[in-house]
């Protein structure tokens, strides 16, 4: 820098040019960054922050530490093979008395009850009946007399497992796994193993809806892209109409149409096609129909925009070279719509994964998707750890799919192998 200035003006012309270029480049970058900064800050606050919070809740485990700190400390050196020593019992008695005084017992009871059904009663009954700090050396005896559960190893391993500050408990539960008393990860008991099935169900419903949207949406998009402007605009209004109607209204309209004394069943009955009403709602069929209707525009619009860009000359050229219509469509037209198919399918699929209201209203008990359970644990039972873990698993699955999609479409020839 300084030596360049010393060597005279003629030598310095080249370097500063590079530097000037770099500087201009940097300036542009800073400007661009400044323009997106507000949005970035907004997203951090409203999107990234809450998601990070959710992921944290899925692995955080602080309730028991907070309420039974002495017990956790006393259990730190316990190997879990037989009952803990007298000191641990004494620590527990102290913790229970302190928690009763501060009214925090329920917080620990709730968390421990997730892992061992009945723990709430064990703790509340012990808190109720423990009158004072037991004499030195009699803590074990006193607690076991109040509730024999304190003689069980499982009671103590449950406390130790919940000692935090991080836990795999909720994530394991979300995948139908538990840790047994020896710390090995095993399958959850069959009547509690439901989440894998629900994830699979969620994916199956989403895939079905995506396929239905594609089958129904493709011809409509083609029509929209090829009709003269006046008529295609009219048709476009019909496509966009669902966008302007509330989701709830559309879902309720399907209930009116599909119920056993609804429009569809009554018409079929009147025509003499059926004697008994068909079950069209409160089952998987109803869920797929209503969700397809709601999500159809999200498929049609990307397809339409990709078809709009295809020149009709290609198909004419294929025909003039002797390709029959089907071959021309499969080899020339379809490959060019692939980006639209990909974008539309991914959009519909990811939106369908998170659907809640529609399956809740038109589905049966066996058609509830994962979002229903996330909502249930968030609001009704307030088991936020499990709700977050289910959310985390869903988020991960969705991200993986988006990545796979990205890999698939990368380097895809979108012109059916022709040179652009």
């Amino acid at each position: 820098m300084t030596d360049a200035r010393l060597t005279g003006a003629n030598a310095s012309t080249e370097v500063p040019l590079k530097r000037r270029l770099k500087r201009a480049e940097r300036r542009r970058q800073v400007k661009a960054l400044a323009l997106v900064l507000p949005l970035l800050v907004f997203l951090l606050f409203t999107f990234a922050g809450p998601i990070a919070g959710m992921l944290w809740r899925a692995v955080g485990d602080r309730e028991v530490r907070q309420v039974l700190p002495q017990t956790i400390a006393a259990l730190a050196g316990w190997d879990g093979r037989d009952l803990p020593d007298e000191a641990a019992f004494a620590a527990l008695a102290n913790d229970i008395l302190a928690a009763r005084a501060s009214g925090t017992m329920a917080i620990a009871a709730k968390r421990l009850n997730y892992a061992l059904n009945g723990f709430r009663t064990i703790l509340t009954s012990t808190a109720r009946n423990l009158k004072a700090v037991p004499e030195p050396g009699t803590a074990m005896e006193t607690l076991v007399k109040i509730n024999p559960a304190w003689r069980e190893r499982a009671t103590w391993t449950t406390i130790k497992d919940a000692s935090g500050p991080l836990t795999g408990f909720y994530l394991l539960s979300a995948l139908d796994l538990v840790r047994n008393a020896d710390g090995a990860i095993v399958a959850a008991p069959p009547d509690q193993a439901i989440y894998r099935d629900i994830f699979i169900r969620t994916f199956i419903i989403s895939i079905s809806v995506t396929a239905l949207c594609l089958i129904l949406g493709f011809p409509v998009a083609y029509l929209l892209a090829t009709l003269p402007p006046g008529r295609s605009n009219l048709l476009m209004i019909f496509v966009l109409l669902p966008f302007w109607t509330s989701l709830l209204v559309r879902t309720c309209a399907w209930i009116v149409l599909l119920q056993s004394k609804g429009v569809v069943n009554d018409s079929l009955h009147w025509l003499g096609i059926i004697d008994e009403p068909l079950r069209l709602i409160y089952n998987r069929f109803g869920v797929c129909v209503a969700m397809t209707h709601v999500l159809l525009p999200f498929m049609i619009l990307p397809l339409y925009s990709s078809m709009k860009a295809i020149s009709p000359a290609y198909m004419r050229a294929a025909a003039s070279l002797g390709a029959p219509p089907v071959t021309a469509f499969l080899r020339i037209y379809l490959p060019q719509t692939l980006p639209g198919i990909g974008a539309g399918s991914l959009l519909v699929f990811i939106l369908a994964l998170g659907y809640y209201i529609t399956p809740a209203l038109v589905g049966g008990a066996a058609d509830q998707m994962i979002s229903y359970f996330i909502a249930l644990y968030t609001t009704e039972t307030a088991n936020w750890g499990l709700a977050s873990a289910l959310g985390a698993v869903l988020l991960l699955a969705t991200l993986l799919l988006a990545l796979v999609y990205g890999k698939l479409v990368q380097g895809q020839p979108v012109t059916g192998g022709m040179k652009n």
Binding site: K110, N117, A366, T378
Partner: protein, 352 residues
Amino acid sequence: MLKRKIGKIALGFAVTLTAGVALASVAQARDLTVVSWGGAYQEAQKKVYFEPFKKAAGLPMNDESWDGGIGVLRAKVQGGAATWDVVQVESDELAVGCEEGLFEKMDYARIGGEAAYIPPSVNPCGVGAILYDFVLGYDKDKLKTAPGGWADFFDTKKIPGKRGLRQGPKTTLEIALMADGVAPKDVYKVLATDEGVDRAFKKLDSLKGDIVWWKAGAQPPQLLASGEVAMTSVYNGRIDTANKNEKKNFGMVWDGALFTLDSWVILKGSPNKDAAYKFLDFAGKAENQSKLSENIAYGTSNKDAAGRLAPAVLKDLPTAPDNIKNAVEINVGFWLENIDRLTERFNKWAAK
């Protein structure tokens, strides 16, 4: 020059946004906000509590509605953005919220004293507002034979047609046991055993293909009206409202009904505690509560409210002696302990 401006504007944006987010979480002085369950019930409350209270006390107040869920209250209180003061909660929300310290301790001296209220409605964290039932509801115009109770509910040979039940284990398992011959007073004793739970699910198996699951209280009357189901479990007040306002001819079976209380609570740290107590005192007076029962068929918590009612009104209330005779109070303690486990089991069963 330009870039500096842009930088400044961006910085300004960021600062405003951060400040905005920070400010939003600071409690501001606001009017008393009372939250209830919406629908016909909240309309009735507006008429007999909210509007008269505004006039009588000369205090401004807003009312909002919510769908319940202890998670919502926890988020409100712990998030430091408690925009609500007085909330009507269900019994399990009352119990959990009380344990978690989400509510102010109820000072009964400021609302007429504990002796003024029926015993089940007195709680350290809240005061009873209404007592209501899950009953067996049916459409008298559509059924030739009137059902006698839950046993008939499960008998599709005797009375053909689908049945509506609330999705989830709560109320469903109790109903199944009563249909299987368990006396109302023994329901929770049986349900507390593994055999009892198995027995309830076995009974549900016999009806599985004929059940339509409802999720919101507004659904069962619609299911009855559209003929989708022949009978359904339903809140008694909804049946009454449908009969009064929509000229329906629905019937109810009180035998084996499940009753529960909703209570008023004051959210922890409410800046409007004085106004809240004034409101609860007003809503706790017998003369005001009896007007509520005249508008919607719920029992109320003040001991003297029922005595002010005409016999014609009283006979349709959950608190009428004949109606409460064979009813079971939904056991909050049992469900707090078992809701997660039995919800999982219920969904496992439903997916089979």
